[in-house]
């Protein structure tokens, strides 16, 4: 059995989760998902500003805090925080200053005192602690899709497994499928073959349950009133050699792991029951769930060969957007909306404007808020000046429009927006690589 935890479901998730998972009990591997379609766009814009960036910076902070602790406890870290620049992140991890590590409790670093540690150079430290960092590369297909801001193939588990087999203690990847972060360590641990379809499918299900962090343990859960959802703990999968697993969490953490919480997460972001991935096609209609005293047992999952193609996440810059929300209170809500629409159209033109009137107002209401409707307007344009001018035009109406004019928040300068598309390439066209620093 291998115990694999998760400490992140998105870029921006609970920063302390890494420490909570490391301190809360035993683990073999700790994983974290930092990438969504939207995140790739955000990282793409980071990279435009500074080619050294393009990875999830919060992970680096978590490692400054927790790397020594993870090494000391023998927990391997596997994350996709590399984003568009896994090599850059791996090198940053290699540069972590001993002084920072030295702020941790001496006991976490073996026999070294913080003072002794501060005097070590990075080479000594790596040697002393045995830190080995690996990364996975080859997902970037920008050369093939030059019109895109970001173009990344969804890689699978095998390069992660290779890094671990070569002794890596931290593995950072770019765009791999979220579930591969779990499949890779399980495959490496058990020595699975590439055509162990049922085992790979079982681990993929475990990965799918873990990939969104606390969404498996009572976060965002329809029946939240039945559990204590104040601070759900992060999930753990205890995976067996046959690919089946027990979903659980550390003792004493909040939330719950029940058939219902796990079902909810299994249904997140899926399509047809044949769940296509780079490692295996997983048949979601074969999954069996059973309540267990420490969580939920998942078994029975069947797998079949994956498609010959890999999915590619493409983000292109679509233009610029800006938005604001007018508050329309009391009488004549429709007429008030018409007036402000007419005024804004005269000022900036109606091209690219989308209006939504939410009739949240109630008649003869006892509070001002309940008497108010919300009129949302968004502009999307290829012209950044027009997106910025929209704000000025909206604010200039402040003393010249409908009675009771105000907005929920003043509009800003406008921001660029991306357009997401999926593309597919043959797997032979992608050369994924495992690299050890």
């Amino acid at each position: 059995m291998i115990r694999i935890g998760n400490a992140s479901g998105f870029y921006g998730d609970r920063l302390s989760a890494m420490r909570e998972q490391l301190e809360g009990g035993d683990l073999d591997v700790l994983t974290g998902d930092y990438l969504a379609e939207l995140t790739m766009l955000i990282l793409g814009r980071d990279r435009m500003k500074d080619s050294q960036l393009g990875y999830a910076k919060t992970f680096l902070r978590q490692m400054e805090d927790c790397l020594a602790l993870a090494l000391d406890k023998g927990v391997k870290i596997v994350v996709n925080a590399g984003g568009l620049n896994p090599e850059g992140l791996a090198r940053k991890l290699g540069e972590l200053r001993p002084g920072k590590l030295g702020e941790l409790k001496p006991g976490e670093l073996g026999e070294l005192s913080p003072g002794e540690l501060g005097e070590l150079d990075q080479g000594d430290l790596a040697g002393r602690l045995g830190a080995k960092i690996g990364y996975v590369t080859g997902d970037d297909l920008k050369a093939r899709f030059p019109e895109a801001l970001t173009a990344n193939a969804y890689l699978g588990a095998w390069e992660i497994a290779e890094c671990l087999n070569q002794g890596a203690q931290v593995v950072v990847t770019g765009r791999v499928t979220d579930a591969s972060l779990v499949v890779g360590p399980a495959a490496a641990h058990f020595g699975w073959a590439r055509d162990d379809w049922d085992r790979l499918a079982g681990a993929t299900v475990a990965g799918h349950v873990l990939e969104c962090g606390t969404q498996a343990t009572g976060g965002n859960f329809s029946f939240f009133t039945e559990i204590d959802a104040t601070r759900p703990g992060f999930p753990i999968a205890e995976i067996d050699e046959d690919g089946s697993c027990l979903i659980t969490k550390h003792d004493g953490t909040g939330g719950a792991v029940t058939v219902d919480t796990v079902t909810a997460q299994l249904l997140y972001e899926i399509g047809a029951p044949e769940y296509l991935g780079p490692d295996v096609t997983t048949h979601f209609d074969t999954i069996r769930l059973e309540q267990h005293e420490r969580g939920v047992r998942i078994s029975g999952t069947r797998g079949s060969p994956p498609p010959d193609t890999l999915k590619v996440c493409l983000n292109t810059l679509g233009g610029f957007r800006n938005s604001t929300t007018f508050v329309l209170t009391g009488l004549d809500v429709e007429a008030k909306a018409e007036l402000v629409k007419r005024q804004l159209h005269e000022a900036v033109g109606d091209d690219g404007l989308t209006w939504t009137l939410a009739r949240t107002d109630q008649k003869d209401a006892a509070t001002e808020e309940q008497a108010s409707a919300l009129l949302h307007v968004t502009i999307k344009t290829t012209d950044p000046k027009r997106a910025k001018g929209f704000s000025r035009a909206a604010i200039e109406l402040a003393l010249a429009s409908y009675p009771g004019f105000h907005v929920t928040a003043p509009p800003g300068d406008g921001t660029p927006f991306g357009v997401y598309k999926a593309a597919y390439v043959h797997r032979d066209e992608v050369s994924a690589k495992a690299v050890l620093l």
Partner: protein, 106 residues
């Protein structure tokens, strides 16, 4: 009896590019038999009039149905002008719709 669907059903929804997915599950085999017959794609569109093209998949092992609402989010989250551009609350909206539920399932 007329009750919100969420009285007996849980849901989770999210985004995949311009499509939204909405998984809905119930907690007993009897409730699943009812849900499977009741919540057709036509019924879903009636309850969520903003849905246009809808695919439905059955997952009897999870006592669940999964719907894909094609194109609901335009060109994806960063571009969508929808109120809920990632369809996070689509499932909770569906749960709040009142429908006729057999009394023995309540």
């Amino acid at each position: 009896m007329r009750r919100p669907l969420g009285t007996i059903a849980g849901a989770r929804s999210g985004d995949k590019g311009g499509d939204a997915n909405l998984g809905i599950w119930v907690r007993t085999p009897e409730a699943y038999e009812w849900l499977k017959g009741f919540l057709t794609t036509e019924k879903l569109k009636e309850l969520l009039p903003e849905a246009d093209q809808v695919s439905r998949y059955e997952l009897p092992n999870l006592k669940a149905l999964n719907f894909v609402l094609h194109g609901l989010l335009g060109e994806g989250v960063a571009s969508s002008t929808r109120f809920d551009p990632q369809a996070k609350a689509l499932g909770e909206w569906l749960r709040s719709r009142e429908v006729e539920i057999p009394e023995e399932l309540l």
